[in-house]
Structure formats: C-alpha cells, structure tokens
C-alpha cells in the first residue's frame, strides 16, 4: 500500500509564560511573576474545589512535591495522574490481592521461566525491550501463549494464539480456572495456606465449562484447555498483561480474574513465577508510589490509616484530610457539577487522551482556573488560563523514575533547557511560596531524601546506591542490603506469622462491554499502540520514523469487502458519541467484526471522539478497548452537515 502524503503535527517548545485575561479571550505572553501571581490567585480562590493532575512522565521527586502541594498547600487529596487512563486497575487489583500495587517479578525472571502468558498485551510493539526478555525466555525453551483479540506481532511468537472476543477475558480466565480445578492441577497446599475464598471462587467459575467459554469468547475449547494445562503444570510461569485487560469498564475485575489464576496455581512469590502488568509510561509506577494518587500517601501508604497520616502530618506540619480524594475520572465529573473549579495540570494532555474527548474539553472549559505546566502548547494548554513552560524531566532535570519491575533509576540532566523554561519542582515551590508555604529544595536529591525518611520501602535507596547498582527495586528498607527481585515470597513461608495476610481470590463476574454492537454499530473497535508512536503523539511526532503512516482505521479483508471499501480510501467512522474520517488499512491479522485504531494522531483523526467514557467503578479507567462503530463510505452526505 503506498504511503499517503501527510503533514505531521510537530510541537515547539514553549519558553514564555502565558495568561488569559478573560474567559474566551486570547492567551498573551506574560512574565514569570505575573503568571505565577495569576495562578496563585486562581488556585487560592478555589481552595476546597481544587484538583491536581500530576505527571507520569516526570520524576518521582516532582510527583512527591506535586502531591505534597495538593495535600499541604491546597488541603485536599484530589491528586491523580494518567495512570487512571491506563493501569489504575492493575494497581487496584494487585493491592486488593497482595496489599501492594507493583508487578511481582523482575524482567530477568521471564528469561528463566517455563510458560509465559501474554494477555491483552502487544509487548512486541508497546514494550519492545521487555519483549526481548520474553524472546530470551522463548529461546531458553519457554512456551508463550498470547491472549488477544488481534493476532499481533507478539502473537506471532506464541505457541498458540487465543483470539478472544473483546471484553471476554473473565470467561476465558474462569474457564482456565475451572479446567485446572477439574483436572486436579491447582496447587492445593498453596491455596490452603496462602489464600482465602477458594470455595466461593470454585463455585463462581464452575459454570464456565470449556464449551461455555468457547461460545462467549470465540476461542476453541481445546485451545483454552491447552493453556490451562500448560500454565498449571509449569514449574514456573509468568502472567503479563497490558491495557487489553485494564482499559475496560470492569478493568479491576479483569485484573483480579488473572491474579486468581496465579493464586490457584501458586505462580506468584517465587523466582520465575509471578504476575506482571507492563506499565505504559516511564514513571507511571513511580507517580503512584509517590502518593500522586487520591488514596495513598508516599510509599503507597494508605491514607485511611491514622498512624500513617499522623507520621506525614508531623513531618509536613499540616492536617491531612482523613479521606480519599477524587481520582482523575471523578475530577472530570466534578468539573461538570461545579464542585471542582480549579485544576493544576502538569505534563498531561487530557483534552486529547481522555475517552470521549469532546466531553473532556467541554468540562475543562468550565473551570474557573486551569493552570497548565508543560513543555509544549498542547491542546490542553490551549484551554488554560495560565500556561507555565517547564523543562523536560527525562533529560533536562535530575531525579529518579520507577519502571515496571519497580526499579528506581536515576534520571540525569544531559542538556540545558531552552531559555525561559523552568524546572517543575521550582515552579511548584514558587507557587507554594505565593500561597503561604515557603518551600525550598536545594536539589532533587533533597526531595528524595525527604521521601526516604517517610517511605519505608524506599528508605535504603540513596542516590549513591542507585548509581552504584544501576537502580534498585523496591522494597528496599535497608541501607546495607538489597532484597530479591520478586515480591511476596512471604506467601510460601512455613510460619503463618511470616506468611502474613493471605491473598484473597477475587470473586468477579463476566460483564460484557458497555457499548454494545448492534445493526447500527456492527463493528467492535479496539485501540492500541503502534511501535514508533506514543500516546497523543506530542512527544513522538517530532522524529522522522520510516514506519509511521499516520492514522488509519484497520479492518480485516472480509469486512472491507462487506462494506465495499478499499485500502487507502477515506471513510467515515461513527460511534454513538461522535464520528471521524480516516483512511482504511487492511490487516489480515484482524478478525471479521473487529476494527483497530490508535490514538497517536489526534490532530489528524481524533480516535477518542469515538471511545466511550464507561468507567471502571473501582479504578476509574475508561473502556478505551471496546467501542461499537460503523464504517460509511464518504459518497453519502454526512449526517447533520
């Protein structure tokens, strides 16, 4: 298929603060003092109705200061970040099962395991270097199974591809569990000693025979059986997932259903056996660890525990609200109702990344005060009342980030920021000072040392040790030792006290996608990442990738024929929420009834106009992975135009 001509959107760095004098008026250049004064006034006027969008791409140190600003200066726990749009269900599910929100294994372990389940994850594209570890494992003899509606480039490496219908992960997991139980392959000793709720769980999965699962998931019973036996019989097994599991209206339930399989077979808490969500941004793990989420204080410590709050209140000389704040999703709802009137948005682009983006923009417009701190004039920044130009965390500032295997690594300044841009932490501290809290940190390390004094799981990680060890995985409470790379070995301890809290099975039920397909919207649209691009494309759009072809709606050859569309032809794609125009790409790896789009080129094709804001009630993540759409040829006039 020939490449089409396209003019890529590139964004230039911003170096000049900007303010908007009146709603509906234009942004104009301002000095730092004026912009910060304006921001401080706007935020002060909205005390009690404030929300912070912290940044999953900035450092741990920035996230620590941002959540502290929210809690101490603004007196609220309304702080969150884009983890909400991706892996919040993983954190919620892992915390419910194990009391800790991180993946349980190290990358290296997947090289030394026997079976790998890649579930709802196209790691070959989305996490290429993690997938190199998987490939090492495959070369070492591991069998990999891919569970994904699309036959992805990850699935090309699989022993077997289980191409299930979108949103039928729980029936698949339950059928695997039932088969394991009926074949007597579950780890009875582990279930007995380390888990709770097995009887109820066994009853819950009982109706999901292989045949019942085949009817719902579309995957042949024999293939499901093979995976069940392979996973249960393996000496070691890794279960990895990505957004195919979490970006559903019941994402947390999906995560619990997968964790159940690990509990049933004892594939957790041992070297080579574990559960591993692959995180989507350089510091989405760390942002949550730093307390930039509404229900946890730094070190993932529960905000509802009196003792924990007291420790932070003493350290920060403040009173912390004894309740959970609003998450990102709830904050957007609160904008609608007027309960939230001011937002400080650092390094996020929710105007394009939220599901049902038109609604998100509408809500942002309603705010009395929107302060955006970014390195680019994003679509969100264009809506702001105050725009503050920042430095790029990963190469223009110092600090740390935490990756998917919980490894805290040093970020170092390699280039000077453009004149006019300022460091995130300095800006936040200047705002805090204007709001009555004169904060000064000498450098990122002093922020980190404050965090270390409050977070036991980070206590042993001095900058010096992080440098000497090429990063350290949490938990690291001691200054003189480094623990094993996997979590929850305690579950295997003989001593019940050492074993600690048992991991509960999640009793979850199948609940199909909210946006049902019907005669008007017969196609299931799912979304994902491409190899060379990233999120809303603000960051990845600037380099010349020979692989990049812009946005397409991808269809299987059968559907293209059915709707009479050709490769490259522009078509109208409509969902119940909106419509966009996009050219057609034919992908034989899709199945009839399944369409695929990415969200990397929202300025060309705003895919999130189509997606549904059906949110997971526990984690607040929207169902980006399942919309109902139809394809129309452009020869007919557009409705309403």
């Amino acid at each position: 298929m020939p490449k089409r001509e396209r003019t890529p959107t590139t964004y230039s760095r911003i170096t000049q603060p900007m303010v908007r004098d009146e709603k509906g008026g234009p942004l104009r250049a301002a000095g730092w003092d004026e912009a910060l004064d304006r921001a401080a006034r706007g935020l002060a006027a909205a005390r009690g109705a404030f929300g912070m969008f912290s940044c999953s791409r900035a450092t741990n140190e920035m996230n620590y200061v941002a959540q502290k600003f929210t809690r101490v200066v603004m007196g609220t726990n309304n702080v969150d970040s884009c983890n909400r749009t991706c892996h919040a269900p993983s954190v919620a599910g892992l915390a419910a099962a194990f009391g800790s929100g991180g993946g349980t294994s190290s990358y290296e372990e997947v090289e030394h395991t026997d079976v790998v389940l890649m579930w709802g994850s196209n790691a070959r594209f989305a996490h290429p270097i993690f997938f190199q570890h998987v490939l090492k494992g495959i070369r070492n003899g591991a069998r990999m199974y891919a569970v994904d509606p699309r036959r992805t480039s990850t699935a090309e490496w699989a022993e077997s591809w289980l191409g299930l219908n979108v949103g039928t992960d729980i029936p698949m997991a339950h059928a695997i569990a039932r088969e394991i139980i009926h074949a007597g392959l579950h780890n009875e000793a582990f279930v007995e000693r380390a888990t709770t709720g097995f009887a109820e769980y066994a009853a819950e999965v009982e109706p999901w025979t292989l045949e019942a699962a085949e009817r719902v998931t579309g995957v042949p019973a024999a293939a499901v059986r093979e995976v069940a036996h392979a996973y249960a019989r393996a000496e070691r097994a890794q279960l990895c997932w990505t957004l195919g599991i979490t970006e559903h209206h019941n994402g947390t339930d999906n995560v619990r259903a997968l964790i159940n399989l690990a509990l049933l077979t004892g594939h957790v808490g041992r070297y080579g056996s574990g559960v591993q969500p692959l995180r989507g941004q350089n510091n989405v793990q760390g942002g949550g660890d730093m307390g930039a989420i509404p229900d946890r204080l730094p070190g993932f410590q529960d905000i509802l525990e009196d003792g924990v709050r007291r420790k932070f209140e003493t350290a920060w000389d403040t009173v912390i609200q004894p309740r959970q704040g609003l998450n990102l999703t709830k904050m957007f709802e609160a904008m609608e109702s007027g309960e939230l009137r001011a937002v400080y948005c650092v390094g996020e682009n929710p105007a394009q990344s939220e599901a049902d983006s038109e609604q998100a923009v509408e809500r942002l417009r309603r705010l009395d005060c929107l302060v955006v701190q970014d390195i680019f004039m994003t679509k969100t920044a264009e809506l702001a009342d105050v725009v503050l130009p920042a430095t790029a965390a990963w190469c223009e500032s110092s600090g740390t980030t935490t990756n998917s295997e919980r490894r805290v690594q040093l970020v170092r300044k390699a280039v000077d920021p453009p004149d006019g841009a300022r460091d995130d932490i300095d800006i936040i501290c200047d705002l805090a000072t204007r709001l009555g809290h004169p904060w000064k940190y000498a450098d990122a390390e002093s922020v980190w040392d404050e965090l270390r004094s409050l977070s036991p799981q980070h206590h042993g990680m001095t900058y010096e040790r992080l440098r000497d060890n090429q990063g350290i995985q949490w938990p690291c409470p001691d200054l003189d030792r480094i623990g094993p790379g996997f979590l929850h070995g305690r579950l295997w301890a003989d001593d019940p006290d050492e074993r600690g809290r048992r991991a509960p099975f999640g009793i979850v039920r199948h609940d199909p996608p909210v946006d049902e397909t019907d005669d008007r919207f017969p196609l299931r649209l799912t979304t994902g990442r491409r190899l060379d691009s990233y999120n809303t494309g603000v960051q990845s759009g600037s380099y010349a990738s020979p692989l990049r072809r812009g946005e397409y709606v991808e269809l299987c050859p059968e559907d293209a024929e059915r709707y009479g569309v050709r490769a490259g032809e522009r078509v109208r794609v409509a969902s119940r929420r909106g419509e966009v125009e996009a050219p057609v790409w034919i992908d034989p790896a899709l199945r009839p009834g399944l369409a695929f789009m990415a969200m990397h080129f929202p300025d060309e094709v705003d895919t999130n106009k189509l997606t549904i804001e059906a949110n997971d009630p526990i984690a607040g993540t929207a169902e980006f992975k399942a919309s109902a759409i139809r394809i129309e040829r452009l020869t007919r006039p557009a409705v309403g135009s």
Partner: protein, 285 residues
C-alpha cells in the same frame, strides 16, 4: 519458596597465559582471561553482548600443540593449556589480517584501527592502490540509518543483533557467496521495504561505522562531528514503562546520538525506535 537459582557451580580452570598461571571460571574464553590479566588483544567481531562468529581473526593467539592459531574470543580456556598471545606467528597473522581488512575496507571510523595498524606494523598499501574495494556510495534510503558498505568487514555482529541473539527481526543477513557475500536486506530491498523496525541495535554493535545514525553521518559529512566535544549522560527513556537506560551523546546542547549501556540489566545495550530516535521533541526550540 524457591531460592534464586544460581546455576551449577562453575569450577575454575587453570592454564598458562604467556608463561604466567591464569585462572578463569569454566566456560570463559582465552579473551576473558587476557582481559582479566590486563592484556590488550585487538578484537572487531567480538562484542560484549554477543556470541561472536569469530569471523575477523584479528584476536588470534597461539595455543601450544594446536595446528592453527585460535581465535581468543571463541576458544574456551582448558585446564593445562599453554597460550601465547604475542608470538611472532600470532603477531604476523594479526598484521596480515589488519592489512587485508584495511586494504579492502575503509577503517577510518573504526575505533583503534589506526593504533593497531601501527602496533603490528601493518602496511595495507603493499597490495597496491588497486586492491579490491567496493567503491560504493553510502546507502541513504531513510531518515534514521546510513549503510556504508565500504566500511563493512562482514563481522556478523549486526546480523546477530538483528537476528536470534537480540532483536529477532531478521531484517538483514549475509547474502551471496564467496567474494560476493555481503550483509543485505531480503532481495537487497531498500531498508524501508525490509523487516527493519529501526531499533538501531545493529548500529549499537557495528565495530567500523559501516552502520551509522544519520545524525552522525550528516555531521561527519559536514565536518562538524566532534566526539571530543561531546558529553555522554545516561538517563532513563521517556517513553513506555520498561525503563530503558539511554546514554545521550550531546554536542553544543544538541542530542546527536543515543546509545545504551551494554551492562544495563534492563536493556543489555538494546533500545527500540522510540528510545533510539524519539528525542527530537525536546530540541524543537
């Protein structure tokens, strides 16, 4: 609870290296022993993240009792063996290998090549100015990579990095036979029509600069590439959550090249297209 497996214990192998006793773990190569003993043996096709094809023969040493010279990078140490790294025969062989390579290929961007040529007294010109050279223009068929076949010594490192040792993309391989053998894409198609995913992991291991980043190639062409004026800072990639360590090579406050530390537990020196090339956004200033 299963402990972290350490693998079977490795015995130490004792042998003699240039008359001195040497001890290395079982499975280690003669090259490992040489480096442990501080001996500088030239290498080209050997790489710290790869299993060498022992194609270049520049690291040969003499093993007593052996009919031929042995490539130090691939020959495992055996108990009792007597190895000599600096014999007349070994040095002569290296000299000829360097002469042949330098007469047929352009080693101007091969680190240390000039130093080795001098050390071994190699004279590439003795084969005459007509010595076989490809004389091809560098292939520039995309915005990220340049392939300069005049510099290729067919060491197989790029083939192995792209293939089953790391990337598993299999975009390049050795095509042709004998004198016509060369590293090629399938059917010698442009890179843009190949299986290449532009991870740059072949460039990361190329010992001669036959494969280079277009940013470096352009600056060398323009005469502005100044390695001595560059800083190298290792930080963490700003894309997905895997946490790859990237080393930013910066000249005049511009990122000009991205590599990754070969001993890093996350990357082992490998990156993807985003980590390798997706830095432009910060310098849109």
């Amino acid at each position: 609870m299963t402990a972290v497996p350490l693998g079977p214990p490795r015995r130490l192998v004792e042998f003699t290296l240039d008359g001195e006793p040497a001890r290395v773990p079982e499975g280690a190569t003669i090259l490992d022993a040489c480096r442990a003993a501080g001996k500088d043996v030239p290498t080209l096709c050997e790489g710290d993240t790869l299993t060498p094809k022992n194609a270049c023969r520049v690291c040969v040493v003499e093993v007593e009792g052996g009919r031929t010279l042995a490539p130090a990078c691939s020959r495992r140490a055996e108990p009792g063996m007597e190895v000599h790294t600096g014999t007349e025969r070994a040095r002569h062989s290296r000299k000829v290998v360097l002469e042949l390579l330098a007469s047929a290929t352009d080693l101007s961007t091969t680190p240390r090549a000039a130093e080795w040529l001098e050390e071994y007294g190699a004279d590439p010109m003795r084969y005459g100015p007509e010595a076989a050279r490809l004389g091809e223009e560098p292939k520039v068929d995309n915005d990220l990579y340049v392939r300069d076949y005049d510099k290729c010594i067919q060491c197989y490192k790029c083939v192995d990095a792209c293939g089953d040792q790391w990337q598993n993309s299999f975009a390049i391989s050795i095509a042709g036979r004998g004198f016509d053998a060369r590293v090629s894409t399938e059917h010698d198609a442009p890179l843009t029509d190949s299986a290449c995913v532009y991870c740059g992991n072949c460039i990361e291991v190329c010992p001669t600069g036959a494969l280079s980043f277009k940013s470096e190639f352009d600056m060398r062409e323009a005469g502005t590439w100044q390695e001595s004026a560059q800083t190298r800072t290792t930080t963490v990639c700003a894309y997905c959550g895997v946490g790859c360590n990237v080393t930013l090579h910066v000249q005049d406050n511009e990122i000009v090249k991205v590599t990754s530390p070969h001993d890093n537990p996350v990357t082992h020196g490998n990156l993807c297209i985003k980590g390798r090339f997706g830095y432009q956004h910060v310098q849109q200033r």
